[in-house]
């Protein structure tokens, strides 16, 4: 059994990542020739048909990450909740293996001045690809630490110039039961939809991710482009996005449609708001044997608590 020792004490959000933890990993990847330099990466890519992320830029957020150990690529790519393929977390990688992520387009439309359809190549060039090491807390009470590569969602939204009437952003995953066999399951109201309030979407922690560990996202992790909102439960971070719509009303989301008492629209990580199924007070970090206490806003309270000032978080869960 592969179990690393748990940190004994709770982590404080402002603690700084010991750089050697991920730097050593990065150096290793660099030595392997798969990190940073695009030419090498493109040559290594089995699919060959995507643009590599640019040289990683250390973002201002990089230092806000916890002391936690970053999960391995094996862990990140072989334990996936992606019901579009299957409900079996271990099988997603196999079923998603041949999923085509190129060419790819993301339609950004709705209440904005400049609606536009972006090719993946435009999105990859839109902003420098930053490395963001974020905790990911799944509503099922497990968590990981993932070194994403991506850029702020706000960069994209600014390009289309939202109207003042735009209050929310609605995201949609590709609907293609031929390539995503799980979508043949009629027990779910496909396509997957998610949403954010506009201020949440514009928050600098919210990113569109296109890579992990300096490599392109694997299909099981939401290739070619997905949302990452680190202070919310994982299901908010919608994968394999094809549509982004600016709207004036709170959009429906897949999980809150199926089980509104279990999954709210906000879905902020909150150890005080109970879930009928999983413990939200504690979590298991993948790779550790014990349980950790879950942190308010997944440890990003300093950055995001002001977004919810005066709101009853037990009511707006």
């Amino acid at each position: 059994m592969k179990i690393r020792k748990a940190y004994s004490s709770a982590i404080h959000p402002s603690e700084i990542t010991p750089k050697h933890v991920y730097l050593s990993r990065r150096d290793f990847l660099k030595a392997m020739g798969v990190f940073g330099t695009g030419a090498v990466l493109a040559a290594c890519s089995p699919r060959g048909a995507y643009l590599p992320p640019q040289e990683a830029v250390n973002s201002p957020m990089g230092d806000e990450t916890p002391t936690d150990e970053v999960n391995t690529l094996e862990e990140i790519t072989h334990y996936n909740n992606f019901y579009e393929f299957t409900t079996d977390k271990q099988q997603v990688a196999t079923l998603a293996k041949d999923f085509k992520t190129w060419p790819w387009e993301v339609e950004v439309y709705g209440l904005c001045h400049q609606p536009r359809t972006f090719g993946l190549e435009d999105l990859l060039k839109m902003a420098p690809q930053e490395e963001r090491i974020y905790r990911l807390r799944c509503v099922e009470a497990w968590s990981m630490v993932i070194p994403w590569n991506g850029f702020p969602l706000s960069t994209l939204l600014e390009k289309v110039e939202p109207l003042s009437s735009a209050k929310f952003v609605r995201f949609e995953t590709l609907y293609d039961p031929e390539s995503m066999p799980g979508q043949k399951n009629r027990l779910y109201p496909w396509p997957y939809q998610e949403g954010l309030r506009l201020d949440e979407a514009m928050h600098p922690l919210t990113i569109l991710a296109t890579g992990i560990y300096g490599e392109a996202l694997t299909p099981q992790n939401g290739a070619p482009i997905r949302l990452v909102v680190p202070w919310k439960y994982g299901f908010k971070s919608i994968k394999t996005i094809v549509k982004i719509e600016l709207v004036d009303e709170q959009p429906a989301t897949l999980w809150s449609t199926i089980a509104p008492h279990e999954y709210g629209f906000y879905a902020n990580v909150n150890p005080k708001v109970n879930h009928p199924r999983w413990s939200q007070a504690s979590e298991r970090r993948i790779g550790e044997s014990g349980r950790r206490r879950t942190l308010m806003f997944n440890g990003y309270a300093e950055e995001v608590a002001h977004l919810y000032a005066g709101m009853d978080l037990a009511k707006y869960y």
């Binding site: 271990q90 027990l187 089980a259 009928p276």
Partner: protein
């Protein structure tokens, strides 16, 4: 008995089959073939083995009364105790590995999660049946023994409910990750229905018509 030799062979097969989930789990632990979330994996494997054996146990009596098959009835207690063994393993993993004996955290969850509450009720009832399953208690309790062991008719659907509630989705609205719990629910419902005299005699006469 259709064939005298089948007794010992079926005996070996039943015992082997019952130990298989445990042996496979041990093997997978040693060879690193559990999931990336190994504690949850073990916990769920034992849970699935327990509920599967429980359903098989529940099938023993109808197989006997409807089909007049002798063998299942003889192994009813054995299978029931195996189901309980896996229930014990399931709970042990929950208490000692999943929650690592963190009593405060555990109480918080046991008190607030409906699937844990139902699971705990199932475990307590099942423990009572397992402990009183031996001949000593059967003699001592007399008529009450049968009454007590009829609780299995409540335990089985509750175990399915525990399983369904532990998954994402809604069994009653037929939405979400409910296919497997639904399959168990259908089988349990069928096995319970076969205990209703009218249903049983209807199926019996149908069965004899087919054989005739």
């Amino acid at each position: 008995m259709r064939n005298p030799g089948s007794n010992s062979l079926s005996r070996i097969l039943i015992h082997l089959g019952a130990w298989l989930p445990l042996l496979r789990t041990l093997l997978d632990s040693l060879t690193n073939n559990l999931s990336i979330n190994p504690i949850q994996d073990i916990e769920q494997r034992f849970g699935r083995a327990a509920i599967t054996l429980l359903v098989i146990t529940l099938a023993c009596t109808p197989l006997n009364t409807v089909l007049h098959w002798q063998l299942p009835r003889k192994y009813r207690r054995t299978l029931g105790l195996y189901a309980y063994l896996y229930a014990v393993l399931h709970v042990t993993v929950f208490v000692f590995l999943d929650y690592a004996l963190d009593i405060s955290l555990m109480l918080q969850d046991v008190g607030t999660k409906r699937y844990v509450i139902v699971g705990a009720i199932v475990f307590i009832l099942l423990s009572t049946l397992a402990l009183t399953s031996f001949d000593y208690w059967k003699k001592r309790l007399g008529k009450n023994w049968k009454r007590l062991h009829r609780w299995i008719y409540l335990i089985s659907p509750l175990a399915v409910l525990h399983f369904a509630w532990a998954r994402k989705g809604n069994l009653f609205q037929l939405q979400g990750d409910i296919l497997l719990p639904l399959a168990y629910a259908v089988v349990v419902a069928l096995l319970l229905a076969l205990r209703v005299p009218k249903v049983r005699s209807a199926i019996q006469s149908q069965y004899y018509k087919m054989r005739a």
